[in-house]
Symmetry: C2
Subunit: 134 residues, 2 copies
Amino acid sequence: MIGRLNHVAIAVKDLEASTALYRDTLGARVSQPQPEPEHGVTVVFVELPNTKIELLEPLGADSPIAKFLERNADGGIHHICYEVDDILAARDRLKAQGARVLGSGEPRIGAHGKPVLFLHPKDFLGTLVELEQA
Amino acid sequence: MIGRLNHVAIAVKDLEASTALYRDTLGARVSQPQPEPEHGVTVVFVELPNTKIELLEPLGADSPIAKFLERNADGGIHHICYEVDDILAARDRLKAQGARVLGSGEPRIGAHGKPVLFLHPKDFLGTLVELEQA
C-alpha cells in the first residue's frame, strides 16, 4: 500500500540557521522559505536526489509543532510522510486493522495541495506518520 | 555534499510485530530479519520505491539502541542516513565547520559493509545523522 517516502519533516526553532546548516555545512540544495499559514509552519525544502527533507519552523500562535519544540529544544524529526495511491482506501484499510487516524478522520489538504492524513504514533512504532495521496 | 537519503532507522522493541505492521497493515515489502551482532541490532529492511526504512531491534547486552528504547517505550526514529561520495572529505569539511563527529572520528564499516560516521544530534537539529559512503 505505501509507496514512496515523500519527505522527512524536521521541526526547528530557527529556520534561517537550519537552512544554512543544510545548505552550507551539508552542501544540499534548499528552497526559499515558504510560509504556510493554514498549517502553522514556514517550510524550507531540502531537495535530495530521491526525496525531500522539510524543515518546519512554527508560524503563528497555534502552530502544531510549538509543543514538540518545547519538549525538544534542539529540534528533531517530527514526522515521516509516505505516499499512497488512494487515501480513502488507505484510511479504511488502516482503520479496519485497528489503527487510529488523528483528527476527524477525514483527509485535509496538506502543504503540497494534496489530501493528507496523520496516523497515531502509538500505533506506528512511536513515529508520527503522514499519508499523502500521490 | 550529501546525496540520497539512504534510510530512516526506527528503533523497535518487538521486531516481529513491527515487521507485521509494515508488511500487513501498511502493505510494504519487508526483508527477513538480519542479525548484525557487530552493530548490536537485528535489522528488517522495508523496501520503498525510493529509499528504505530500517527497523532495528536490540541484539545482545550492549546494543546502541537499548537506552533509546528505555526513553522511548513505543519505539521511534533513531537516525537518518545520508549518502556521501567521499566520507573522509565529508568528515573533514564538517569538522572544519565545527560539527562534532561521534566516537573516534574515524569511519567504521556499517551494516551495509560501507564506511559510515555518525554526527552529533546537537549540531544537526536534534537529529542523529549517519553518513554512509555511497
